[in-house]
Amino acid sequence: MDASSIIDTLTTAVPGASYEAGKSVDFATIYVPAAQLVETCRALREIPSLRFNVLIEVTAADYLPREPRFEVVYHLLSIPNRLRLRLKVRVASTQIDGVVPTVQSVWPAAGWPEREVWDMFGIVFAEHGDLRRLLMPEDWEGHPARKDYPVQIRKAAQTYEPLEVSESRVQGEHRARPVSAGARWLVVGGW
């Protein structure tokens, strides 16, 4: 099923939305406006001729310096109809804060990949509910998959406990640990 026939099916199901077919080498690609994303996804899942019941992944692409800068990409799979589809949402750099809605209500699988997109690209999904970093440490600054993020940065190691252990502490812990009867021969060193 090519992009134009999917768009025809969608336009009747979601009134008022304007879709656009994207260029693609493998399977249909459709641009969806962020405002109609959830309705569109629900239609894609429910319409019998489509039935995209699996969300394979959510990811994003950074097209710096182009504007709209980001594209959020959804790969969908229809097991009943053996179809694949690529959905794209254009996100301008002014729209990264909560313009794209979460699609967890359609596919619960979206939760973690949307966290990852936020972590890596800094795109906030509206009403996500658990938008914490997934891959990077919680206190990380910046979003590493953006094009303007340096490939290698050095970050000073942060430790909350002293790394050096004093001789007296080792001795004290060694003495304090009781030696079980079975392991005593190891400690006294006899074979």
Partner: protein
């Protein structure tokens, strides 16, 4: 055995190697060893996905022999991966010796990798445009020797923990998965193929690199518990042997190992030494790489 369950899973601070970011800075061919390091158990399955995607963008079609070698190596990698699974999995239910048998079989697969590429874990043998070079001498003997002993050894591996008693006792009725739920939350592979109304996708529904010309069946089960998933994976190894046997019969010991697109594949060495254009092409490919048309391609494994 105590029944443990996990109701919610809230991951954070997963380690990321940042391979996408590193790959942005590399040439296309240099990404192959990177993506192989995404999975230490079945490295070549990852690079297969990658090279197929790039070849899709370039619009390359591989010779039949290259496709067959890729299928064969991908299936050997599947067995190598499943052997680690079955060995460590048995350890978790208390059968330690199973790992020893499994790793011994895996060693033979590592030897085959070493034979074709001089590298055991990450051979980087699949390249955009074909393979790194032609098959090594003795490849057929090594693969056939493995395929001849594997079904018997596979039985021995699985008999080690007394499969009839231990495995079902640990697994029956545990974590029943339903295929519909698997689709909603996005679990794949053996888990979704073992549930009621099992899901089968890639190799059969969206055939790639010539899988559609092989005779095999996608293993499924309907009980949906951990034991069903166990049986699905074991059956996958049997089907792998079946596919690999068909593939090794189709592959000639020497022949085409890359496509004939001079943008991507370096010219043969005898031409490099005798023809100026071939020498230039050789230098261009090794110093600048090649240009791939902008676009997206997905190849899910």
């Amino acid at each position: 055995m105590a029944r443990r369950s996990s109701r919610a899973c809230r991951p954070s601070d997963i380690c990321t190697p940042g391979i996408e970011k590193t790959a942005e800075q590399k040439k296309w061919q240099q990404v192959v060893p990177l993506v192989e390091r995404m999975d230490y158990l079945a490295a070549q399955s990852n690079s297969l996905c990658y090279v197929l995607s790039v070849e899709k963008l370039l619009g390359l079609e591989m010779p039949q022999r290259v496709k067959d070698i890729r299928v064969l190596l991908a299936e050997l990698q599947r067995m190598a991966s499943h052997l680690v699974w079955i060995g460590t999995h048995a350890m978790e239910i208390g059968a330690v010796s199973m790992l020893f048998y499994a790793i011994r079989e895996r060693e033979l697969l590592m030897n085959i990798n070493e034979l074709i590429a001089g590298f055991r874990f990450f051979p980087s043998y699949f390249r955009v445009g074909g393979l790194r070079e032609d098959l090594a001498r003795g490849f057929h003997e090594a693969v056939n020797a493995f395929l001849d002993r594997f079904p018997e050894e596979d039985r021995r591996v699985r008999r080690a923990p007394d499969e009839e008693r231990h495995v079902p006792a640990a697994h029956r009725g545990r974590r029943r998965a339903h295929a519909g739920r698997c689709a909603r939350v996005g679990t794949g592979r053996a888990r979704s193929r073992a549930g009621r109304d099992p899901i089968t996708t890639c190799g059969s529904s969206f055939p790639y690199t010539g899988y559609e010309t092989y005779d095999f069946k996608v293993p499924t089960a309907t009980e949906g518990d951990v034991f069903a998933q166990y049986r699905v994976r074991v059956e996958e190894m049997r089907q792998s042997v079946k596919i690999a046997r068909q593939a090794i019969q189709r592959i000639t010991p020497s022949g085409a190992w890359a496509c004939d697109d001079s943008r991507v594949v370096p010219p043969p060495k005898d031409k490099v030494y005798t023809e100026m254009e071939a020498l230039i092409q050789h230098f261009l490919i090794y110093s600048q790489g090649f240009t791939v048309p902008a676009g997206e391609a997905l190849r899910a494994g």
